[in-house]
Structure formats: structure tokens, C-alpha cells
């Protein structure tokens, strides 16, 4: 009954890419998304949601990274998303500063 090996990632570098993309990339996406939201909607509500919802999102991103065909591609996608949210943070900071 163990999972059929034919479908699992064999290459070591791919495996590393997927695990690191899910854990680190997923964390970056989760944090940047919530911080960006914090500048555009009620930031206290967003930060409170981040403390539990963030982890549900993070585990979903971790699962998606494992399902990806190419680990480096999913890294690129997660970094692009982080970049997009960072731009929102940049503008949020100048238009709706919290402090």
C-alpha cells in the first residue's frame, strides 16, 4: 500500500526545491500577503487573522509545492507573488501609513 514510487520525485535537487519552496516560499507568500492587506484594510483584524488563518494558508502552499511538476518553477511563482505583495506594501506604506 505505500504510495506508488513511480509518481514521487526522485531527483534530490527537485525534492530540495519543493520542500524549501513550500516551507520558506510559502512563508514569504503568507507573510507578504497579510502585511499587504494590513495596509489596505483594518490592520488589527488582518494581523489577528494571520495568527491562525496564516497557518492554514501556509500548509496549503506547502501541499501545492509538493504537487508542482517543477520545484524551481514553484519557487519562481512564490517569489513573484511575494514581489507583487511587496509592491502593494510599498504603495500602502506611502498612501495608508499605519505608524
Amino acid at each position: 500500500m505505500p504510495a506508488n514510487k513511480k509518481y514521487l520525485t526522485k531527483s534530490k535537487s527537485q525534492r530540495f526545491a519543493k520542500i524549501s519552496a513550500g516551507l520558506i516560499g510559502g512563508y514569504l507568500v503568507m507573510e507578504s500577503l497579510h502585511i499587504a492587506l494590513a495596509f489596505w484594510v483594518n490592520h488589527v483584524h488582518v494581523l489577528m487573522t494571520l495568527r491562525f488563518g496564516g497557518f492554514i494558508l501556509w500548509s496549503a502552499l506547502l501541499i501545492l509545492a509538493f504537487l508542482a511538476e517543477n520545484g524551481w518553477k514553484i519557487w519562481a511563482i512564490y517569489l513573484l507573488l511575494t514581489l507583487l505583495f511587496s509592491i502593494l506594501i510599498y504603495f500602502g506604506k506611502s498612501y495608508n501609513p499605519i505608524i
Partner: protein
């Protein structure tokens, strides 16, 4: 779902599950007993709690007796009742009066008995209840900073991951397989049926625990650093203020009033102001000063309202309310989230009956973990797998099962041994409880692992736990004289409950234990598994 997706999810579920299995079992087992933390503590100390809340706590006498040993002027002194026990937690801040003597210049924390005014430091206040409660977030593994909490939090996060992947893998058969139980089939099918059926029954419960567990133990530590530096530009105090955990500060007048107010009046005023309010914390700001204030904090009684957080602040001199936060109206999102997380995790909103349901669901989760380990083992015990690997797997199975299942007799033994041998509430108490639990657990783990027989481990840990469990009410009766029929008539229901709880547990596990029979795998036909 494509075959590829199915197999990948299956594999991630298996790997994350087997890695966290033992840690998660310890968390669930100790956590399940922690629902009865307060009852266990009443039982252990033979101090029944009859009045809930602050009851008849007399702050005048408590402060008088505190005054004899501590200088109190100008300090913020809080009495907190985290749990339903007779001892309150006391927190003293350093005095704001800079001319004050040395002994009031530091922070202090200890416990005080509401009735006897005896004080206890952390180690002498230690108890089995506290031990199991702290074991359930692996506090005993805090060797480097908070490494234990971090480990518990990581386990909770991967538990969440395993729940989601497990549900996805099982998704298509979630209804059809729910009613399948094949006790006559091969072991692998029995474990699979048990794992999936009980996993589905416990799914909402386990999901709640994964999320709330992460929330309590590591959420802030993990998500806060970028938030503090980007959103708050390094000002972490502002963040904690936003999240509602800031401390208040009143300036010291540096003058002592002519008359001291009746300290009980503030609690009484709050009680008549909000009759359905459950007081959890009373703080005297600037004690003994002209500008002394009194804060009374708490939440609505759960029968009245599920969440909410309220506080009244009095000017101690005039007795007037200077600030009010109504717990019954306009609950903020922050208080709402915190309240829901706490209620769902502690299971304290529906009395003892609900806690028993929570306990059963907790033990079901333990069973899901064990059956998961057993599926892992059986699925890898195949002829085509290399001998070395099979040997390693077998040893892993023996030790994992032994670590998990010996927790039951070790816990029962700790109850008996603490009752029989540890009488004093001195700082040695904490060390003694550690030694009793961890040494007995270690010895049992070694013996059962070296026996190299999972059936034997299963059967005899249940029977041993049952025998020790039956000794718990006897030990209590012999030492305290509070036999369970006496505690029932005296209405010491918390002490009575612990005795009855252990008797019930012991009888059930004894019956299950002696009825367990070894299954001869070869005599069983391999039914075509529905999962294939």
C-alpha cells in the same frame, strides 16, 4: 484526482504523519488528561473547590498577610484565577517609588491559598495536573530557550498538514468507507478501517486542535517578526497594544491616603454591576497610594454568552468607575478570535460533561495516531523489502508503540506514587514528580521495546494501567480518608470525579486488555480491499 496527485498526497501524509506520530501522541494523551487539570489538582492536594470563581476570597486578609512578608507600597499587584483551584496566582511589579527599600525593586510571582493565605513558589505549587498540562506542549523539553514549545508548535503545524493531506487522500471514499469495518480481515485492513473511520469522526475536533494549538504555542513567535519590522517599524509594544495584551500604567502620587479602602468592595461592586460576569483577575495598581486604582477583569459566564472580554477600573479612593469595557456588547474581533480559540481549545464552556466528550475525542485521536503507525508498519513488512530495512522498521514500531502505550501505566503510577509518597509542598515536589513520571516511563519503554512484541505491549500496558488505575482511588482513600463515597456525600465533586474517572478508565481498559487475543495472520484471507 489523478493517480499522480493521489500518490504524492498519500506520500506526504505518510511521511509527515510518521515523523510527528510519537510527539503528537504525547501531546494528545497528556492534553486529554489536562481537561481535568483542576479536578486532578483538587484531588492531589485534597483541597476541594466548592465556590467557583473568586468565591469568598477576602482581599483585605490576603493583602494583610502579604504585607507581613513583602513591602507592597507603590506596586501593581494582581490576583489571577487561571484555573478552578483554591490557589490564586499573584504577580507583583517592582515598586514605582524609587525611594523604596531593596526588597520591592524586583518582580515577584507566587501563589496564595484563598482560604489559608499560605503562599507557595512555583516549584512547591507543582502538581500532577500542572505536569501533564505542561507536558502537553512539551514544556519539559525547553532545554534551549523555548525549544520544547517550538517543537510542539512544529508538530501542531505538521499535524494540520497531515489532516489536510489525509482528508484529500480519503476524500472520494469518505462516505462509502465510513461504514466499513472488517474485524475478520487482515490486520492491515483493520488498522486502515479504524484509521479512516475514526479519523473522519474526529476530523473537526482534530482540525480545531491543529489550528488552535499552533495559535497558542508558536503563532505569534513565527508570524510577528516581519510584521513588527514592516508594519510597526520596530515598535513591538504598539503591536501588542493592538492585539490587546498591553499593560496599564497609572502614575504614582507618592502620597499615602488617610484611610485604606475596603479591598473587597470593588469585586462586590462588579458583581452587582454585571451579575453574569465571571471575574478572572483583580489588579491593584499603585497599591497603598493616593492614586491607587483597581482593575477587575473577566469574561461573561459561558452559559450567558460564548465570547467577550470586559473590565472595570475603579479609582480606589473615591470608589468610582473610571473606565469600563463592557463584555456583553460590541465584542471586538481581537477579543472574539482569542475567545473562540480559548473556548474551543480548553473545552471549558459546557461543564464536566463536555470535557468528558472532549477527553473521549482526544483518546480517539491517540488511537488514530497508533493505527497510523501500525498501517505504516504492516505496509512495509513485505518480503521484497530488504532485510536491513525491515529490521529497522520493526524496531521503530516496537519503540514507537512502547513509548505511546506506556504513557497510560506511567500516568496511573504517577498518581498513585505522588499520593502515597509526596506529602510536602516544598520546592522538592516538582523534582519528585518529574522523577516519578519520567523514570517509570523510561523503564516501561525499555522493557516493552526489548520484548519486541506489539501485541504484548498493547495487552499488558492496558492491564498494567488498569491495575494501577484501580489503586488510585484506594491510595487516595488511605492517605486522605476522603474515600469516594465520602467525597460524594460531602459534595467534593471534583475529588470524587477523579476517583470515579480512574475507576471507569481502569475497568474499561482491564476488560479490553484481558479480551485481546493474538491474531494469526496466516489463517485470514486477504479480502479485496475497497481502498484499492
Amino acid at each position: 484526482m489523478t493517480n499522480r496527485t493521489y500518490n504524492i498526497l498519500f506520500h506526504t501524509h505518510t511521511v509527515s504523519g510518521i515523523i510527528i506520530s510519537v510527539g503528537l501522541y504525547i501531546i494528545f494523551f497528556a492534553g486529554s488528561f489536562s481537561f481535568f487539570r483542576d479536578e486532578i489538582i483538587s484531588w492531589e492536594r485534597n483541597e476541594p473547590v466548592i465556590e467557583k470563581g473568586f468565591g469568598n476570597a477576602n482581599f483585605n486578609t490576603m493583602m494583610d498577610s502579604l504585607d507581613e512578608t513583602h513591602s507592597t507600597y507603590g506596586r501593581d499587584i494582581s490576583f489571577t484565577k487561571y484555573f478552578e483551584e483554591r490557589r490564586l496566582s499573584l504577580n507583583l511589579t517592582p515598586s514605582k517609588d524609587s525611594t523604596v527599600q531593596q526588597d520591592a525593586s524586583g518582580r515577584e510571582f507566587f501563589y496564595m491559598d484563598m482560604d489559608s493565605q499560605n503562599t507557595y513558589d512555583y516549584a512547591s505549587n507543582y502538581s500532577i495536573g500542572e505536569f501533564l498540562y505542561r507536558l502537553h506542549f512539551l514544556a519539559q523539553l525547553n532545554f534551549y530557550g523555548s525549544s520544547g514549545y517550538l517543537l510542539a508548535g512544529t508538530i501542531a503545524f505538521f499535524f494540520l498538514f497531515a489532516i489536510i493531506t489525509g482528508t484529500l487522500v480519503h476524500w472520494k471514499k469518505i462516505v462509502s468507507n465510513f461504514f466499513i469495518f472488517r474485524p475478520k480481515a487482515r490486520l492491515k485492513n483493520i488498522w486502515t478501517d479504524a484509521h479512516t473511520a475514526l479519523g473522519v469522526i474526529g476530523l473537526p475536533f482534530q482540525f480545531i486542535y491543529a489550528v488552535t494549538g499552533v495559535f497558542f504555542i508558536i503563532a505569534t513567535a513565527i508570524v510577528a517578526p516581519p510584521v513588527i519590522s514592516i508594519v510597526y517599524e520596530g515598535n513591538s509594544e504598539k503591536m501588542f497594544e493592538d492585539l490587546g495584551v498591553a499593560t496599564k500604567d497609572f502614575p504614582l502620587a507618592m502620597e499615602k491616603p488617610e484611610t485604606t479602602p475596603n479591598l473587597n468592595s470593588f469585586v462586590q461592586k462588579t458583581e452587582s454591576y454585571w451579575p453574569d460576569f465571571n471575574i478572572e483577575k483583580v489588579t491593584f495598581y499603585n497599591f497603598g497610594d493616593e492614586n491607587m486604582h483597581v482593575g477587575v477583569e473577566g469574561s461573561p459566564q459561558y452559559g450567558k454568552q460564548f465570547i467577550g472580554r470586559g473590565e472595570l477600573i475603579f479609582n480606589a479612593g473615591t470608589g468610582e468607575i473610571v473606565s469600563e469595557k463592557n463584555p456583553f456588547e460590541n465584542t471586538s474581533y481581537v477579543d472574539g478570535v482569542t475567545g473562540i480559540m480559548e473556548r474551543l481549545h480548553f473545552g471549558d464552556y459546557g461543564g464536566l460533561g463536555l470535557k468528558i466528550v472532549y477527553f473521549i475525542l482526544g483518546i480517539i485521536s491517540c488511537f488514530v495516531i497508533i493505527s497510523g503507525i501500525l498501517i505504516w508498519l504492516v505496509a512495509r513488512d513485505k518480503k521484497h523489502i530488504a532485510e536491513k530495512k525491515r529490521k529497522f522498521n520493526a524496531w521503530m514500531g516496537w519503540s514507537f508503540i512502547a513509548i505511546c502505550l506506556t504513557m497510560y501505566p506511567a500516568t496511573a503510577f504517577t498518581f498513585v506514587a505522588v499520593k502515597l509518597f509526596i506529602y510536602d509542598f516544598d520546592p522538592e515536589r516538582m523534582t519528585s514528580i518529574y522523577q516519578i513520571f519520567f523514570y517509570s516511563w523510561l523503564i516501561l519503554i525499555l522493557l516493552f521495546t526489548l520484548k519486541k512484541d506489539n501485541f504484548f505491549t498493547n495487552k499488558y500496558t492496558l492491564i498494567l494501567g488498569a491495575i494501577l488505575g484501580l489503586m488510585i482511588p484506594i491510595a487516595n482513600g488511605l492517605i486522605s480518608g476522603n474515600w469516594f463515597w465520602k467525597t460524594f456525600t460531602k459534595e467534593y465533586y471534583d475529588i470524587f470525579f477523579v476517583d470515579i474517572f480512574w475507576m471507569t478508565l481502569a475497568i474499561i481498559t482491564f476488560i479490553v486488555g484481558i479480551r485481546l487475543k493474538r491474531i494469526n495472520e496466516d489463517s485470514r484471507t486477504s479480502l479485496k480491499s475497497v481502498s484499492e
